[in-house]
Amino acid sequence: MARSPQRSPTTALSLGLIITIAAVVAYSWYITLQISHLRELQNNLVEHNRRDSLQLLRVQNDLNSLGLAMRDMLDNDEPYPLTAWSAQFQRIRTDLDSALQAEAQLSIARRTPEQTQYLKDSLAQFWDAADRTFALAQAGKDAEAREQIRLSLQARQSTLNTAVSRLLVQNNESEQQASTQVAQIYDRVQSQVYRFLTATLTAILLTSLYLIRANRQLFARIEALSQQRSELAQKLISSQESMLRSISRELHDEFGQILTAIGSLLTRSEKRIPEGSALHTDLREVRDIAQSTLNNVRSLSQALHPVMLDETGLESTMDWYIPTVEKQTGIDISYQKSGVPFALDGGAAIHIYRVLQEALNNVARHSGAREAQVRLQFSAEALDLEVEDHGKGGVALAARSGIGLVAMRERAELLRGTLEFSQPAEGGTLVHMRVPREGNEANAG
């Protein structure tokens, strides 16, 4: 199978990650810059302006309080002389001075010298007039003092009020300008946020699409590889089985016949030579060796591919094989058979036999158990083969290093069956192979 060269997605993904991180860093820097600009604007302009306006409102409030006090003085409905208001005026004057001083500190940058001077002069004129009014009141000239309030004090208070109102309007205008700038910054940031979000979403989308495509290709490759591996394994198994069967047959048929013939010839020769002679003894020994070799060849042939599997089927083979293993390994194997047996296809039987062979090999090699159980169960749908030992367990893990486990699985898959390893409650390993009846039964259909 031709394999197209596959490119790893790691490079593209790393590149995407670097671009994303760079975009986030750049965006964060931009936002920080904008926030810093905003903070500066708010601190230097908006906050400054707000505090200045608060002081101007305080001044305005004081001027209004003076206005109300003057109105009360003119109303003349209090049982107190005009001089009683002196303390009230003094309190307001103290607060007004303090407010104007604070306001002057806050308004330096935006106030013209002429405006400052005008405010100062207007205030001085007001307090001059107020002092004159209270001097008149002190001297008992209440009527003149009230006239002074009407003609001079109220007018000056009104002038001051107008001046302060104008400054407040000016502050409002600056505040509006600042608000516009702030709004522009917000708009810019908002627009950048949208752009950044769009770019990020596009990058995420493209990366995702790329990942999906790469994954699909990866999975397809894995699938193909798995298929190839499975096919290869099956071919290997088939070829191995074919070779073993051929060797087994050669051993059995060719060497078996030759050794049998040799044995017959030796028996005949032996009869022609008198007993007790040295030659008779030698011939007897050679005949025994030939017989022993014949037995070994038959055993080997049986081991490579039990002929009886083809001739009498799986059950008989297992009936022969299990005691053989017991003898060879010294493991006490309990064998149970249940259900109504059905004849298996020859190909299926050899795979089941091989799985049994490998499972018992693993028990002997890895489990350390002295006992094992083999269960063969026929049912209407399937054949179940279980090999269980209560040894140290982890047989499947230990066997994983070899190709035995792979071969067992492949054989199970060849039969469209399943193979499972588990640990029984008593410990050890349970190998369970399930082979569906359909497709594996001899003469089925």
Binding site: L54, A69, Y80, T83, A84, A87, Q88, R91, T94, D95
Partner: protein, 563 residues
């Protein structure tokens, strides 16, 4: 601020209590319960605002209450001020109520017998023995003419408004207090006035443009407070203008007496509604100077004049200087002012845990008192809105509101524990006046609260932690007989507490004159020092707790039995 030179010395003597030094002081349980004993005590008072639908401004403000020992038997009696129907809408006759303490947890209505069943649109009350005869006299502030009732000493009162020279002044008076501003041994009278208002000149205000609603004070002109000097012959002289407190911009609702600069001369703090608060510093020459702006207490931290209602002053942080609490409108928070050494105040309401808790309440009466007797002054506040439709405008603000008790942990933090003091106290009500006294003489302070157009509530304080207290009742000889203005300092195990004997405070109300100190688990105090208004200090050592003591100026101290 020359007078403040004394403050470092005073401060040095007022070490903060060590954390955990006082028993029963925990955030979770207040250590006391407030049991509603109004009915059990036989109090059947209901305030009548005269509201008939005309939505007249005074109907929103409620009335005050006072604890006083009118018969001088050593048991605190109770006075509940009442309004009345408006002249053109007479339906019923309502008067203030004087309840005599029966010394068994119950009270008897003795209003008629005492000659006080007089109809008037009463607002506040100030109790003081202005003629030094040993029996407290009563000033009732009114919408209209204020009334002065002289105690005859025989269980009755005589209306001396005219003979005292207080008549002929129609105003919208609110809180008032007796104090001896010139330290001549005679109690003088300070009266707050709200705005220039009369039923005839009531302004039509409306929220929807159709129906009349209650106006805010901005609709009316302010009115100066009054100071009347006691001539000592039963008459008073109006020294308002002469003493420098004349101010027609004020819209005053609450007044507290304090010794702001610790010079021994009484100063005044006036809470104004929508106008800057006033801190009148006594210049020791018969005049006052408003230093509220310099002291940082005139406005909120944002520079706004809030709607000041009730006010109290006390050394709640053991700094040796009086701190101040001012209740304000909803959305304005209570102002809790901690004194600094340079004569200024910092509003620490938010940091102390009082600010946010009072964000949605409209506070009126308030008082510093040691509710759990742990040695740290707590703050009790009566709440209730002025607008019965406020819920329609601000969903999270109700007309009836639960009162609050902010428990002081002694380390600058307060926590509202009203919900843990029992079921009765926490019930929402349209709270107004608030005062306290140990009416059952068990050593702790009980609370009396009035509501607008509703009942008065008497809450008995039942201690649960076994904390001790010590109480002092002072009688002046050279000083004014009530000893108003006397500073009592108690020292125990290195810590110092102080109480100023004072009238007024809270809102339209007056608490008892005897002073109570919580001592935690301590069973004695090392020393008590009394600085009499006459200037003479007296000191008594090693006094057992769990007792009340009578102190007579220049004549010693006498225990008056255990609690």
């Amino acid at each position: 601020m020359a007078g403040l030179a004394a403050s470092p010395r005073a401060r040095a003597n007022h070490q903060l209590l060590a954390p955990g030094a006082i028993a029963g002081q925990s955030g979770a349980t207040p250590g006391f319960r407030l049991v509603d004993v109004t009915n059990a005590a036989g109090i059947q008072f209901r305030h009548h605002s005269g509201a008939y639908g005309g939505k007249l401004l005074p109907e929103t403000l409620g009335s005050g209450c006072a604890f006083l020992d009118y018969d001088a038997d050593g048991w605190q009696d109770m006075l509940l001020i009442n309004g009345m129907d408006w002249p053109q809408h007479k339906r019923q006759r309502t008067t203030l109520r004087l309840y005599r303490n029966n010394r068994d947890g119950t009270f008897s209505d003795v209003t008629r017998r005492a000659g006080l069943d007089v109809e008037m649109y009463g607002m506040g009350v100030a109790v003081g023995d202005y003629n030094n005869d040993g029996f407290p006299d009563i000033l009732v502030t009114c919408v209209g003419q204020n009334r002065l009732f002289r105690n005859t000493g025989k269980g009755a009162f005589t209306d001396v408004t005219h003979s005292s020279g207080l008549d002929g002044r129609l105003a919208f008076s609110t809180s008032a207090l007796w104090f001896d501003y010139d330290r001549d041994g005679l109690l003088d009278l300070f009266v707050c006035n709200y705005v220039k208002w009369s039923a005839e000149h009531d302004v039509f205000c409306s929220l929807d443009g159709k129906h009349k609603s209650y106006c805010t004070p901005e609709a009316y002109r302010g009115e100066t407070c009054w100071l009347f000097h006691n001539r000592g012959d039963g008459t008073f002289e109006d020294v308002t203008a002469k003493c420098g407190i004349f101010d027609t911009s004020s819209k005053s609702l609450g007044v507290a007496m304090l010794d702001y600069d610790r010079d021994g001369w009484p100063d005044l703090l006036v809470a104004n509604d929508t106008q800057p608060n006033k801190l009148y510093r006594n210049q020791r020459n018969g005049t006052f100077k408003d230093v509220a702006v310099e002291a940082g207490i005139a406005f909120s931290a944002e520079g706004k004049a809030r709607a000041g209602m009730g006010v109290d002053a006390a050394d709640f942080d053991h700094s040796g200087l009086p701190g101040v609490a001012i209740t304000n409108f909803d959305n304005e928070m209570i102002g809790l002012y901690r004194p600094a050494a340079n004569g200024t105040y910092n509003d620490v309401a938010v940091q102390a845990g009082v600010g946010l808790a009072s964000q949605n309440t409209l506070g009126f009466g308030c008082a510093f008192l040691d509710a759990n007797l742990d040695g740290a002054l707590d703050l009790v506040v009566a709440n209730g809105h002025i607008d019965d439709t406020v819920r329609n405008i601000r969903g999270n603000v109700g007309y009836a509101q639960p009162p609050q008790i902010f428990l002081n942990n002694g380390q600058g933090k307060f926590q509202d524990v009203a919900a843990s003091t029992g079921d009765g106290f926490i019930q929402p009500k349209v709270g107004r006046g608030l005062c306290y006294a140990d009416f059952d003489r068990d050593g702790d302070l009980d609370i009396l609260m009035t509501t607008n157009n509703g009942p008065a509530y008497l809450y008995r304080n039942d201690q649960q932690t076994g904390n001790h207290s010590i109480r002092f009742r002072l009688t002046g000889t050279k000083s004014n007989r009530d000893a108003i203005g006397a500073m009592v300092r108690v020292e125990h195990e290195g810590s110092t507490q102080e109480r100023l004997v004072k009238g007024g405070s809270s809102y339209l109300s007056q608490s008892e004159l005897p002073v109570t100190f919580g001592l935690g688990k301590r069973d004695k105090i090392d020393r008590v020092t009394i600085e009499w208004p006459s200037g003479k200090p007296e000191e008594y050592k090693s006094l057992a707790a769990g007792q009340s003591y009578d102190c007579i100026e220049g004549k010693g101290i006498t225990p008056q039995g255990h609690f």
